[in-house]
């Protein structure tokens, strides 16, 4: 079947419901959460009741079985009202639930997924470390096997959803082998409250104020061997795979913020009058609006394209990276245009545009920076299968 660009009736309905929820419940209070840097627990629980966290997962694990594209539509709608809540959802689903769903044993799935899919609890994902960011293979956290346990020591930074009142735990990557190579990295499920697992106070951030971000430290933290997620030594490879779909989700979130920027700009351009006419009558402003709308539409199509591949059970590969690159840079660009169209009032925190501007930049950083996306795309083009390490090794050697 060729491209159709038509949503199914269920997808249309899911999008409409999310839009209604975002407009009625989220948007009116987003500024307040932003100002107070409050994690809006009640609304996150409401999102759970609506079924957002289980949206792409099958009913057998407590999901709605609505597929990945539906989840992308939901993310766009929530992000249009509040990027912080959208990243809470994205990290909960793509980083928290998806790896357990994908690599968990029957027992692990049974233990965690129903609670997580219902949105009553959140699960975090800790890959990044102070010395291992883009270069995730440089992981230093160690998990030393000792009898039926691993003893974990190390630090993870910038971890989303890791310290909320409903956080149930975190999946971390750690070296279980003795070597320094990428092969010795495994993934472990660490439950909140485990002795030796400490959650630092929340970071102060430029944006995403209502999203929960902490540094995590592990010191002689004992984790049962049964908490190994996936293959021992398979940790990094697995997670780079899992991140692929996550990139498409960040792209969808970016489209939502970009759309919010366009919505606000359209309204402002028609309302605000200078030189005896609305701003929308000046060609300089019209061109900005047209460019924003065009770039947003392009980004959205790329999101849908990559999302359709995920739904078909195929690798989204370069299309995931291209979508993320395009959508996140578009969103930053749109926020910049939106602020300009708003003039001085756009710089004031009374209107949401200032928040969009602060919230948007991080989309070019989280889950792989724009530079890293370009490296991945180049690696695909050069026949290296999207591996950044191979690309850098080749380049150096």
């Amino acid at each position: 079947m060729g491209p159709s660009f038509e949503l199914s009736p269920e997808q249309t309905e899911i999008r409409a419901t999310c839009r209604e929820f975002a407009t009625e419940v989220v948007a009116p209070r987003a500024a307040e959460w932003d100002r107070s840097s409050e994690f809006p627990l009640q609304v996150v629980l409401q999102m759970g009741q609506l079924g957002l966290f289980g949206l792409p997962f099958p009913e057998s694990v407590g999901g709605a079985g609505a597929g990945f594209l539906s989840y992308l539509l939901a993310l766009e709608e929530i992000a249009r009202a509040d990027a912080s809540l959208a990243i809470t959802l994205e990290a909960g689903v793509s980083l928290g639930i998806a790896p357990i769903f994908r690599y968990g044993t029957e027992e692990q799935r049974h233990r965690y997924l129903p609670e997580l899919c219902s949105g009553r609890r959140l699960w975090a994902f800790g890959l990044t470390e102070p010395e291992a960011g883009s270069d995730a293979g440089a992981t230093r956290t160690r998990a030393r096997p000792e009898g039926e346990e691993f003893v974990v020591d190390g630090t993870k930074c910038f971890i989303t959803n890791s310290g909320t009142a409903i956080t149930a735990g975190v999946t971390i990557t750690a070296r279980t082998g003795s070597g320094e190579g990428r092969g010795g990295i495994s993934a472990l499920l660490v439950e909140s409250g485990t002795e030796g697992f400490r959650v630092a106070p929340a970071y102060r951030k430029l944006g995403w104020h209502a999203s929960d971000t902490h540094e995590l430290s592990f010191s002689s933290c004992r984790v049962p061997r049964a908490n190994l997620l996936g293959r021992e030594g398979g940790g990094l490879g697995q997670f780079l795979d899992a991140l692929e779909a996550g990139r498409v989700a960040i792209a969808a979130l970016s489209v939502g913020v970009a759309q919010a920027c366009l919505d606000a700009s359209l309204e402002q351009a028609q309302r605000r009058r200078q030189f005896g006419r609305p701003l929308s009558r000046f060609q300089a402003i019209q061109l900005k609006l047209a460019d924003m709308a065009t770039r947003i539409e392009l980004s959205r199509l790329m999101v849908w394209r990559a999302g359709a591949l995920v739904d078909q059970g195929r690798r989204a590969g370069r299309y995931a990276s291209m979508a993320k690159l395009q959508a996140s840079e578009t969103a930053t660009w749109c926020a910049n245009q939106a602020l300009q169209i708003h003039g001085g009032s756009g710089f004031m925190e009374d209107l949401p545009v200032a928040r969009y501007y602060r919230d948007v930049k991080v989309n070019e950083i989280g889950e792989g920076t724009s530079e890293v996306q370009r490296l991945i795309i180049a690696s695909h083009l050069l026949g290296l299968g999207g591996s950044v390490s191979k690309l850098l090794d080749e380049g150096g050697g």
């Binding site: 009736p9 309905e13 899911i14 419901t17 079924g51 709605a64 939901a74």
Partner: protein, 258 residues
């Protein structure tokens, strides 16, 4: 108890409605939604059904795409749907609509029918009462609260100054106001599940309705002309002269808003 609820698909009321040459609302080529008023009816029906481990059937008359309105009710939690659709129904007036819906209600086996007070497009506000009359059921209208207990239906009927208590035996027809409840969002699981719930589609012949009694042919009502609503007067301007706050408060108190 099996509860039937009327749902109607209407042009999105947030858009600008247009009329055609015969003063009928243009329904083709425009965004359509479940009548926002009907969401209160669906919620009320779901609550009655949930309290009595019963089931809700959503009933509509309209073109095939009115199925979407029924699906919305299904995704909120209704168990099944019934759509009466027939090209010969085009141009039906309120009474003909009531004739058709009354048959559909009979067929559904429901013992309680809930509708909203008036639709958000036509606003005749007569269909539910006409159905009640045709079925010979009592009509309890303008409910701002509804309780059903052991076959007794009890409502608080909204009045200008408060409410009346009205009671009747089921089967009965109840119309609800927007103040009766806060309609739930369909859950996303509910949206997926709605797909596999049964919706029966019936034509005039299935219901044994004489085509001459409905549609253009059976219309006893003719809209001869349409006038725009008179512009509202610009209201009262209160100058900020020091006593403005008091005058504003007095004004609101007079309207019983504070």
């Amino acid at each position: 108890m099996k509860v039937a609820v009327l749902v109607k698909q209407i042009p999105d009321p947030s858009g600008a409605g247009r009329l055609d040459g015969s003063h009928r609302l243009v329904r083709e080529g425009v965004e359509v939604v479940l009548d926002p008023g009907d969401a209160y009816g669906v919620e009320a029906a779901l609550r009655v059904a949930e309290a009595s481990s019963g089931e809700v059937v959503a009933i509509s008359m309209g073109p095939e795409r009115a199925l979407e309105a029924i699906r919305k009710a299904l995704s909120m939690g209704a168990g099944s749907g019934l759509l009466v659709t027939d090209p010969r129904l085009l141009g039906s007036d309120a009474l003909a609509t009531a004739r058709v819906l009354a048959r559909a209600v009979e067929r559904s086996g429901a013992e309680l029918l809930i509708g909203c007070t008036e639709s958000t497009d036509g606003y005749t506000g007569t269909v539910p009462a006409a159905i009640a009359e045709l079925l010979g059921w009592p009509a309890l209208t303008f409910a701002k609260q509804l309780e059903v207990e052991g076959g007794r239906v009890r409502i608080q009927r909204q009045t200008a100054s408060g409410h009346d208590l009205v009671e009747a035996e089921a089967p009965a027809v109840v119309t609800v106001t927007g103040g009766i409840n806060e309609p739930r969002y369909p859950t996303l699981k509910g949206i997926m599940a709605a797909r596999s719930k049964p919706v029966e589609q019936l034509g005039l012949d299935d219901l044994g309705i004489d085509p001459a009694s409905v549609g253009e042919a059976g219309a006893g009502q003719l809209v001869s002309s349409v006038e725009p609503v008179p512009e509202r007067s610009s209201g009262e301007l209160i100058e900020a002269d020091g006593a403005a706050a008091r005058r504003l408060a007095d004004y609101l108190a007079e309207l019983k808003l504070v």
